[in-house]
């Protein structure tokens, strides 16, 4: 072909990946790489945005002013992280509007964990400690992802996120050391959030639909099972430290492996929630849709005002 570049772009792309260099927005990239990234980054962004809701449920009821400020700042960070990630996805040629449409129409997925309800104050602690803990394990690994804007967003997110898990753990620690009712509240939250948190890492490596290609392109850097193991190992110690019991009779240190063994996830529940049958799937999407629809007139007004201002400026200039 006449417009064949000097080097074969695919070979160059693969060389860049192999050399651990980043792919940047204007680079040539295989369509599938682009699509894979758009799917993963936007799904990640949606998770941050929907993830505001379960914890946001407790902002107005936080039990002290200190906790209220921390929780509000934390949920605000989730919004910020959603924004960084949408921005990273936009560098791949998909618009924020398109991604929002996909979320609101139910076409795009977000992390299933947010389809569980927050029933007590301890759930706010459990989400910070477990859900953010799991997210951080995953995100630290993603700081080395091959797509530059995604990696940079991850570095920023990991930096900000480090206080999220700590504040959650601190809540759990305080409750576990508190009155019997508070300790029971903390244990109940751990009982309900433990398994859904393990599900966050996704299916076993052998059954993960997107994993292999993603690993090859270095979009993902560690496998689902590796990351899950890492999370279990660190969390088992933390639970023991504050005197809470992880609801898994099979959880046991395995000297030979140098890891904790743990029980099998209920994959039926995993699939059920993934396919829309979790306790809050409908409520979460309904809340996002309502915010978007109620905000339509605001966004319209902003654009109308900006257009009028621009026209007025042109009028003055003319």
């Amino acid at each position: 072909m006449a417009d064949q570049p000097l080097t074969d772009p695919l070979a160059r792309f693969e060389r860049t990946i192999a050399a651990e260099e980043k792919i940047e927005p204007r680079d040539w990239m295989p369509d599938k790489y682009r699509q894979n990234l758009i799917r993963q980054i936007s799904q990640h962004a949606h998770s941050e945005v929907v993830g505001q809701l379960p914890e946001g449920n407790w902002i107005t009821r936080a039990p002290s002013l200190r906790r209220k400020a921390i929780l509000l700042a934390k949920v605000q960070d989730e919004a910020g992280h959603g924004l960084y990630l949408y921005s990273a996805a936009e560098t791949l040629g998909v618009s924020r509007e398109q991604m929002l449409d996909d979320l609101l129409s139910g076409k795009a997925k977000y992390a299933s964990i947010f389809n569980y309800p927050t029933l007590s104050w301890a759930d706010v602690g459990a989400i910070g400690w477990l859900v953010d803990g799991a997210a951080i394990v995953n995100q630290i690994s993603l700081c080395r992802t091959s797509y530059g804007p995604y990696a940079r967003a991850m570095v920023r997110i990991c930096k900000e996120e480090s206080f999220h898990q700590r504040q959650g753990f601190e809540i759990m620690q305080t409750l576990a050391a508190g009155t019997p009712e508070q300790k029971a509240m903390a244990q109940d939250a751990l009982d309900r959030w433990w398994w859904p948190t393990l599900m966050m890492f996704g299916p076993h490596d052998a059954e993960s639909a997107h994993s292999q290609q993603s690993m090859q392109w270095k979009i993902k850097r560690q496998s689902n099972d590796e990351l899950r193991q890492k999370f279990v190992d660190q969390t088992a110690l933390q639970a023991a430290h504050i005197g809470l019991v992880i609801p898994d009779p099979e959880l046991k240190w395995n000297e030979a492996r140098g890891h904790y063994d743990f029980g099998e996830i209920d994959w039926e529940e995993f699939n059920r929630v993934l396919n829309g049958h979790g306790p809050c799937n409908r409520a979460r999407l309904a809340a996002r849709r309502k915010a978007h629809e109620d905000g339509q007139w605001v966004r319209d007004a902003m654009m109308a005002h900006a257009d009028k201002e621009a026209a007025r400026a042109r009028g003055v200039a003319a």
Partner: protein
Amino acid sequence: MSSKHLPLWEVFIRSRRGLDHKHIGSLHAADPEQALQAARDTYTRRQEGVSIWVVRSSDIHASQFEDEAAFFDPAADKIYRHPTFYDVPEELKL
């Protein structure tokens, strides 16, 4: 209405006096004032900056992937532009 969606802006932040503004991310806003406020609210929550620039993304002109070889490779053999190219007596502190 002429424009349906909120335009995209690129945000540059000077983290300390004496340093350059550095690209830090992007956001959506209707106009420059709103973009500045959103940049302040989004990107300086942890005292990350002392000055903000916002630029409409569509106003940025960028070199293309295809330009890379023609733009940047020709500089590769101009090693005499670097001080290490020259062989001078170390003790003279040149």
